[in-house]
Assembly symmetry: C2
Homo-oligomer: 221 residues x 2
DNA sequence: GTCTATAGAGTGATAGAC
DNA sequence: GTCTATCACTCTATAGAC
């Protein structure tokens, strides 16, 4: 309790500032000022600025991925080993969108930090990003179970587009709000999730299947 | 000819470096080294680093928007004032994707620079970004003509998702290639454009219309 | 563990010779 | 218009007192 109060203060302040302003123009001095700790504390607790960012990213990355996999597992268990396409996609984009949008900015910092981290070309994170591919493969496998006969490429394009819509919505929510004069309600998080899931599911199920016939819908061992 | 050879050398080098490495870690010294000109030349020709970036962004922004509008205009003229949804979307995402993807890295720098510029939180550009909203309104209006009776919010979501898919494809093409083990062919630019257009058009036409009936498909006033 | 003070290497911008 | 030289400033990282 007495131990890491400074440490967590730094982590929280860094996450909030990076989420708000991006990595380019947030300095260690900004962080320690917001955390109300001393400049040297950062190097004492984390070693360097890059290691601080890495720790932040790894922690959040693990948490998000775990939440995604839990939801995927639950959906597949409920369906006897095979989840509907919509459920798989919901498990993929739901955690991120729920964290980023909506009026409660509680977990917002964490999720917006992650979006920024995956977008901006920041050195320490680029190395870790490979793990996300392994993570996505699990969702590709789940979709393959949901859509037997669908070509692999179609499934990958579906995942890619689902993440694209989710991320862009978080990243550039301001533009959509302004463009639509508020007609697109970004505070309705579940509504946004439903949209992303519906569009992707439509794309995955409506287009031509891989080889033989149409929709071997259910029960396929 | 003798006049602005230095000036354009700086512009080209800056665009290439920013496209490749992002704005965060490209310095004026990197730029002048790549352009093989003197450090002071940047401030002489552009006044400041921010003004250099601004000039780059404004120039490319105007060019892209003009190409988009030309294609939109041509499509609407061919349809007697009303273009198919697919044609409107193609005019929107085609120029960007054609510039960014594909084996020819000729215009690639310009387009990838633009993607980076719209994403990374870079001060001088944030101010200009408002103009893009006015530009997008023209495509919203075109879609409204193509889809009478469709709710405005649906149209805005469609534009938003189309741009999301196009931008993410450019930005993170590496991840999709690796995830799919090359099964998703990003060198097939027209194929990618067709995918983005098809998914968006599907979302715009398949979902529930605004108020009354289904699909007042063609010929409406 | 936390602080002050400072080192050491960058940065963008500019003055002034040519 | 182009160069050299340098200013003023910022950054991260660290040494050493407490």
């Amino acid at each position: 309790m007495s131990t890491d109060t400074t440490r967590t203060a730094i982590l929280r302040a860094a996450e909030r500032l990076y989420a708000e302003r991006g990595f380019s123009d947030v300095t260690l001095r900004d962080i320690v000022a917001a955390a109300e700790v001393n400049l040297a504390a950062v190097n004492y607790h984390f070693g360097s600025k890059d290691e601080l960012i890495t720790e932040l990213f790894v922690t959040r990355s693990i948490a998000t991925n775990r939440e995604r996999l839990n939801q995927l597992k639950a959906a597949e268990a409920a369906g006897g080993g095979r989840a509907p396409v919509e459920a798989v996609l919901r498990a993929l984009v739901g955690p991120t969108l729920r964290g980023c949008l909506g009026p409660d900015s509680e977990r917002s910092d964490a999720a917006r930090f992650m979006i920024r981290a995956t977008i901006e070309a920041i050195a320490p994170i680029h190395k870790i990003k490979n793990r996300e591919i392994d993570h996505l493969r699990k969702f590709a496998a789940a979709l393959r179970r949901s859509l037997p006969g669908k070509a692999d490429a179609e499934i990958y394009w579906g995942l890619h587009f689902a993440l694209a819509m989710a991320h862009q919505t978080v990243r550039d929510s301001e533009r959509l709000t302004r463009l639509s004069d508020g007609k697109c309600d970004l505070d309705d998080v579940e509504g946004v999730i439903n949209r992303v899931v519906a569009v992707t599911a439509l794309a995955l199920t409506a287009s031509k299947p891989a080889a033989d016939d149409k929709a071997p819908a259910r029960r396929g061992r």
